[in-house]
Symmetry: D2
Subunit: 139 residues, 4 copies
């Protein structure tokens, strides 16, 4: 349904998103949503195990991914430069969170799964960054 | 993946969630996530059309559903009474948002789809409320 | 500044907020904002100390208070019944969080301060609930 | 109170924040919190006036500032590089939102005040970016 709504929004708004494929945007938003959820659960589980750094990074990663997704959903608020800057930050955040989680992935199943969710979000965003770079006049 | 992480968290925590079926929780969280996304998009589209009340209610509904989902994801923070109170509020919010969106569903496709997402979230939460009521010692 | 903007919004909107005093709303929003911040810090500190239940409840309380504040800021989205239901939930959440934090307030300074922030939010909201009940035709 | 909690957290954590002054961090967080609130109110008011682009940018700016503040509050999750990248994005977002709001500041008081809140957040963050750059070994 999100995708149907997004297609409608993209066609009705006169927004500079020519290079953007709705399916690719949908994939990115789903990866961000899954990453947010995995990070919230991982942070919660970490806290009971005294893993403070992992909990804090996962909580941050959840909020960053959530905000990134919200920006992509708001066609009217679209600003290419800000979107790209936020996506670079989100990629950096997901990579840092994944690296932290991988340090205890062997003994902690939730960290292993959270790292996977972060990695998938990075992959989806990198693909989208490529499309946005092409859509930019010269960046 | 969310469901796998949740099953792990539910089995490892000694939390009072005996009546709770992971598949039902997963369904509720997916409905809440879809409703959050639909509401953010609907609020954004509304704003460009001068539909202030619908935009404000959708923005509120997005935040309420998002918070409800975050609470369900945090096994360690689980408190049955607070969870049930928040779920009653979320059901009321989704119903109010759906009613508002339905008032202009014929001329606005995003409102029609947003109302559907709200209704589906209500259905999933009502099912879960039933299970939680049974799980409560006497409520 | 928030208060100036709110006064402007309250006078320009034809919203059913006759019983509402801008100063009282401002006080409530400040208490909610302070509580959100205290809860995020407390959850973060808890996680490093293995206090999983406190961390989870504080994280939930932060999100609930944040959403409550966002609802109060959106004059166009105002719905008296939903606002009152959300405020009852927020009061219950703050009380539960304060009770949990008070259990280790002697050994943990951040828990003692977080409990205080929760209590102040409860006091501000109870005052506002009184005004809203009077403003309701018959509730 | 936020500042007292933060000083406690900064002294107890062995985190690489040597260059960071608690008063400066507090000032930044207050500016971010005020900006979040101003943006939520401005987005809500915009929506009733059909100002879709301004509403969307303000809604985005609110979420970005909120997430930035949450990251600063989480001492355990602190990662200097990610924090700096997020702060650069937040500065860019606030500048874009301020520019959009200034385009209708004369006829819209909430836009004028929202632009001011964005500008103040930018000033606080630029000061903090300076300190963080010095604190970085070589960046």
């Amino acid at each position: 349904m999100t995708m149907d709504m997004m297609k409608g929004a993209m066609s009705s708004s006169g927004m500079p998103m020519k290079g953007m494929d709705p399916a690719m945007m949908q994939e990115t938003m789903e990866a961000l949503s899954a990453c947010t959820q995995a990070c919230i659960m991982c942070a919660d589980a970490d806290a009971g195990e005294g893993m403070g750094k992992c909990a804090g990074m996962c909580a941050n990663c959840a909020d960053v991914c959530d905000t990134m997704m919200r920006m992509l959903l708001r066609m009217n608020g679209w600003d290419m430069q800000v979107t790209m800057s936020m996506m670079q930050t989100t990629i950096m955040m997901c990579r840092a969170c994944s690296a932290e989680c991988m340090m205890h992935a062997e003994m902690s199943e939730h960290c292993r799964m959270c790292a996977m969710a972060c990695d998938q979000a990075v992959m989806a965003m990198e693909k989208m960054m490529g499309s946005m770079s092409e859509a930019m006049p010269m960046a």
